[in-house]
């Protein structure tokens, strides 16, 4: 690190790197080779490819980056991460972008942005029970935000899962829930959202 890098106020790229565990500082060395975009299975649905997002981060386009649907379409498959010649922890950076977008209050209230709501429904369930169950999360998520699709789900796939005995209606509660709650409460004080 040169003096100029440490003495200037933190820019968008610095903030993202600071919030990401692992060797996130490799992001400074992004070559813009596009291997990440070429490896991404959901690239076509993103409004900016991963390579473009990294160029935008480098340019400090904070609003555009955090408003982008790119991190929300990341499926966490880690293909970009194993192929990146600069070993940038791209998937972890996508998680950081999600957290920063939530904190900044960015994500449009349109159909494609069900992602933050889905994650929040999941978290509620875990925080109050200690365990989750994917089908319960799915049902609650739809009932809360998309009642019509909940009906579709319950009569279609959901019904099949129930008849196969693969669907629970209540999650299992862990025994020492107060302990988990105390840990999470403390953790939130230490490093809240983002």
């Amino acid at each position: 690190m040169t003096d100029t890098l440490t003495s200037r106020p933190p820019t968008l790229i610095d903030k993202i790197i600071a919030e990401t565990p692992g060797k996130a500082s490799n992001l400074y060395a992004c070559l813009q080779c596009g291997t990440c975009s070429g490896s991404c299975p959901s690239g076509p649905d993103m409004d900016h490819s991963p390579r473009t997002i990294f160029a935008m981060i480098d340019s400090g386009l904070e609003d555009q980056v955090l408003m982008s649907n790119t991190p929300w379409y990341c499926v966490s498959c880690y293909y970009c991460m194993v192929r990146c010649p600069q070993e940038i922890p791209i998937t972890d950076i996508m998680y950081t972008l999600k957290r920063m977008a939530i904190e900044a209050g960015y994500f449009r209230e349109v159909d494609q942005d069900k992602a933050p709501e889905f994650s929040e429904t999941f978290m509620d369930l875990v925080e109050n029970n200690g365990r989750s169950f994917e089908l319960g999360v799915v049902m609650r998520h739809h009932l809360r935000y998309h009642p019509l699709s909940a009906v579709k789900l319950a009569t279609g796939m959901g019904l099949k899962m129930i008849t196969k005995g693969r669907m629970d209606f209540t999650p299992t509660k862990i025994k020492n829930l107060p302990q988990l709650k105390a840990i999470l409460k403390k953790a939130k004080e230490l490093g809240g959202a983002a």
Partner: protein
């Protein structure tokens, strides 16, 4: 051999057949799985998207409990997401002191502590293919799965990310292929074996997920696979329960059963059927399993067979005289 066992939430109900078949094959292989008492959810791919320190603390509680309770340093997770979260948190806590300090304070609020690196997190496939080994598995095979054409599907989170070390190739893994071969099955070439099933995308952007699922099913069908063997509850759920939706969306007629590789192991070991959980899958595996024969398939005809080996065309020298 004793192993700590972290089942994860899916194994309780949705992927029950994965859990019961894992327990069933463990016995003859001499593995004793000791479930971590009072484990909690790993947060899947959701928690980390909202809260960083709580997400790490959530997983660390499990690592702390495992280190406290078990006399084995190995912790086995059969679910891909659980495996990755446990391994990743342990790895990043070793690497990042600031993160560790915060997680330590959070754990302390619950009267727990964890020294990163104490626990060796393994996926079930690693335990079976590396620790137990193919010879020990082969020794248990009583009813080989002859003529059953299986596509081995690994998904994302077991082979990747390789930054913290992986027991298999991150893009072209083969450990499950080898296990299935030892079971007597015909393992097909499955180029998309490590591609993504869409994960939670079925809930967020169904069209994105359906296309990813379609590719995987199409690739298996192109190679005339009778079934797809998987090692992850999420992959099984997406490929199995959303197969109808894929057919409706794309006008396809896929009918490919998705089973756990441990179910096939149990079948080849000739274990009691009620422990293996067949029948829980939405696309029935019965027609495919009926294809298993007692006779081993004939070796494939090679191109050379019945043909004289003439070698490369070489210039023929005019005979002297």
């Amino acid at each position: 051999m004793k192993y700590g066992y972290y089942p994860g939430c899916s194994m309780e109900k949705n992927a029950r057949s994965y859990h019961t078949s894992t327990m069933a094959v463990a016995k003859p292989l001499g593995i004793e799985f000791i479930e971590v008492d009072d484990w909690n959810c790993c947060g899947a791919t959701e928690y980390i998207a909202i809260n960083k320190i709580p997400a790490y603390a959530l997983v660390s509680r499990n690592l702390a409990l495992a280190a406290d309770q078990n006399d084995s340093e190995n912790l086995v997770a059969p679910c891909s997401a659980c495996f990755l979260n446990l391994k990743k948190v342990d790895h990043y806590l070793q690497e990042n002191t600031e993160l560790k300090e915060k997680v330590d304070i959070a754990l302390d609020a619950g009267g727990l502590s964890y020294e990163p690196g104490t626990i060796n997190v393994q996926h079930l496939l690693e335990t079976l293919s590396v620790d137990i080994g193919l010879d020990a598995i082969k020794a248990q095979v009583k009813k080989p799965l002859y003529n059953l054409r299986v596509a081995p599907y690994y998904g994302c989170l077991v082979p990747r990310p390789a930054t913290m070390g992986s027991f298999d190739d991150p893009e072209h893994p083969t450990s499950m292929d080898k296990i299935l071969e030892v079971l007597g099955a015909t393992v097909i070439d499955y180029p998309l074996k490590a591609q993504c099933c869409g994960g939670h995308m079925t809930q967020i952007s169904e069209n994105t997920a359906l296309e990813l699922i379609r590719r995987l099913l199409k690739n298996a069908q192109d190679s005339e696979a009778d079934m797809i063997a998987t090692l992850c509850p999420m992959c099984q759920l997406n490929l199995d329960a959303y197969q109808d939706a894929v057919n409706a969306h794309f006008g396809t007629k896929f009918k490919i059963p998705i089973v756990y590789f441990t179910q096939l192991m149990g079948l080849a070991f000739d274990l009691p059927e009620n422990e293996l959980g067949f029948g829980k899958e939405i696309v029935s595996a019965k027609p495919a399993l009926a294809k298993i024969t007692e006779q081993a398939p004939k070796p494939k005809r090679t191109r050379e067979r019945g043909k004289k080996n003439v070698g490369l065309p070489m210039p023929i020298m005019a005979e002297e005289g």
